[in-house]
């Protein structure tokens, strides 16, 4: 049985990665299992300079999902390179850094630094709904994505994955912007902009008023978007949004994802990612699938 895949030039022993912002830099999960079992680890969104994040409450639960407005709190790239990367390098798994910034220059500066680090790839976060400047602002249009991706491409030799926001009308055209600018892959979806109001106080629960929705609640939207993007571009897709088990993962791969990421699923059970790997293998055995690559994009449309 072969579960190995090649996503955007990154070789992984299986298609299961953990999503940015839901796994920290790996330390906390290392208590539960050997991180080398994962196909890859995508780090918390990391910026050029440290960011302190948004005011609390930053988390609120909704039906089969959660809204978050963390605001990209992170210790900055220098701290990451000195303290977290050496830890992550101890494991035999792909390390992909989720990169975020507020201006084009910031993204470029950050990627110059990332280019020199011993990492397997960069996931360019053009899609965080929780910070005022940057991120999603660039991710909203074909031109915006193309511009920033081309500038980053010039300074980055490593595999470049562009993370797309679902908060747009036509995600396929945005993905095209990334492809046209030379990205090696796209990842989707980031969180869907949402809101929850406490009917007793009449105030939104999140201090930021709005936040990003993730978890099983968003899965059908994510599947649809992965499918649409797979029809529009030739670069591979890292699919995510509500995956909590092997069946969900297979569904994303059938829709067109080469690899998948588990986000909020890590919160309900720290073992979700490695259970998903075993469940994918079980599905392969049951369905006589010798090579996991054989199911990518194999949805049979009506």
């Amino acid at each position: 049985m072969n579960t190995r895949i090649n996503f955007a030039g990154i070789k992984m022993k299986n298609p299961v990665t953990v999503a940015s912002g839901t796994f920290g830099y790996g330390r906390e999960f290392h208590n539960f299992f050997d991180l080398s079992k994962l196909g890859g680890i995508i780090t918390k969104g990391t910026s050029l300079k440290p960011r302190s994040g948004n005011k609390p409450p930053r988390i609120c639960e909704t039906a089969s999902g959660i809204l978050n407005s963390i605001g990209l709190q992170n210790p900055g790239i220098e701290y990451f390179a000195q303290n977290d990367l050496p830890f992550l390098k101890k494991f035999d798994t792909a390390i992909i850094v989720n990169a975020c910034g507020s201006t084009v220059d910031e993204y470029v500066e950050l990627c110059k630094i990332l280019n020199k680090l011993d990492i397997d790839g960069v996931e360019l976060n053009l899609s965080c709904p929780n910070v005022k400047a940057g991120c999603m602002a660039f991710g909203n249009t074909y031109d915006g994505v193309k511009e920033i991706t081309s500038k980053v491409r010039k300074v980055l030799d490593k595999p470049l994955i562009v993370k797309l926001t679902p908060n747009v009308t036509d995600i396929a055209s945005i993905a095209k912007g990334a492809e046209d600018a030379g990205a090696d892959g796209v990842s989707l979806i980031n969180t869907l902009l949402g809101m929850k109001i406490d009917i007793h106080t009449r105030k939104p629960i999140l201090a930021n008023n709005t936040g990003g929705l993730s978890g099983p609640a968003v899965k059908p939207v994510a599947i649809r978007m992965v499918y649409q993007v797979s029809q529009a571009v030739n670069i591979p897709i890292l699919g995510m949004g509500g995956i909590i088990n092997g069946e969900d993962a297979i569904e994303f791969m059938l829709a067109g994802a080469t690899a998948i990421s588990i986000g909020a699923g890590n919160f309900i059970d720290p073992y979700t990612s490695i259970n998903t790997i075993s469940e994918i293998k079980n599905y392969m055995i049951k369905n006589n699938i010798e090579n996991i690559n054989d199911i990518i994009g194999k949805v049979q449309i009506n």
Binding site: G21, T22, N31, K44, G53, R58, Q73, P216, F267, I268
Partner: protein
């Protein structure tokens, strides 16, 4: 070490109409649990409610491997939990939180709690008393009907003061007033608090005014309880508008040095 276990429910006691005391078999958690630690409990078998519920550790029996917690039914999650039957298993992660109650260097410790905030204080009183500390406990409740665990706390305190806001039981007024009196008489070397936010704010202020070390247990909405989502933020004392700084309740807390947080 933090572990995930399937803990068997050994005993279930209904303390009040909507408050339950659970005793579960969780030797792996109990082994390293400290007073002030909490656990994260899975409250459904499907995806709704989705995330775990943080609940404090109330009592641990290291010899028997038994862990106890008490919770109030607030919404769907705690309601589901209350329906578990004796003999059933509960999915628990713990012990969580690096910030726990520390009392070694102090002799006369004052433990103060309000309402359902009294639960995590029990293990603290018990361990401190076993270590021959002088434990004064001040527990405040709204009225007679809300008084909880009086008998239990009596056993683990050298001096227990119960108050009710309306005077319908024991002493009248707020627990903090009785604590303040004892501070003024020089009877208190350190303070430990858990309870509603207004009470914690008042205790924090008092402890700073009187220059007495104070540790408070905080709550914030959590995504993971493990320190990865960065959801459970609380401002540090140095935080300012221009330069906000945060601790995380599940990581640095839930127990903090009162001087180092802004609430």
């Amino acid at each position: 070490m933090v572990v995930k276990v399937q803990a068997k429910l050994l005993d279930k006691i209904k303390l009040k109409e909507n408050i339950y005391h659970f005793k579960v078999e969780a030797p792996e958690i109990v082994k390293t649990a400290k007073p002030g630690n909490f656990i994260e409990i899975r409250v459904s078998n499907n995806t709704d409610p989705f995330i775990r519920r943080p609940i404090s550790i109330h009592n641990i029996d290291k010899n028997k491997g038994i862990l106890e917690f008490i919770f109030q039914i607030k919404g769907e999650g705690t309601k589901n939990l209350s329906k578990k039957n004796i003999g059933e298993e509960i999915d628990i992660i713990g012990p969580l939180g690096n910030g726990t109650f520390k009392y070694n260097e102090y002799q006369n410790i004052a433990v103060i709690g309000g309402g359902i905030g009294v639960f995590p204080l029990y293990e603290l009183c018990k361990e401190a008393k076993e270590d021959n500390k002088h434990v004064s406990t001040y527990l405040g409740f709204r009225s007679k009907d809300f008084v909880l665990l009086e008998k239990e706390f009596k056993k683990v305190s050298d001096n227990l003061i119960i108050t009710t806001d309306d005077g319908s039981y024991a002493n009248t007024g707020f627990a903090i007033n009785y604590l303040e009196e004892d501070i003024n008489q020089g009877k208190v070397s350190s303070i430990y608090a858990c309870g509603p936010l207004p009470m914690l704010k008042a205790i924090r202020k008092l402890s700073i005014e009187k220059n007495i070390p104070c540790q408070i247990s905080l709550e914030e909405r959590m995504g993971c309880g493990l320190g990865v989502c960065l959801g459970c933020a609380v401002k540090t004392a140095e935080s300012s508008k221009e330069n906000p700084q945060y601790w995380h309740v599940c990581k640095g807390g839930p127990v903090f040095n009162a001087k180092l947080v802004e609430i």
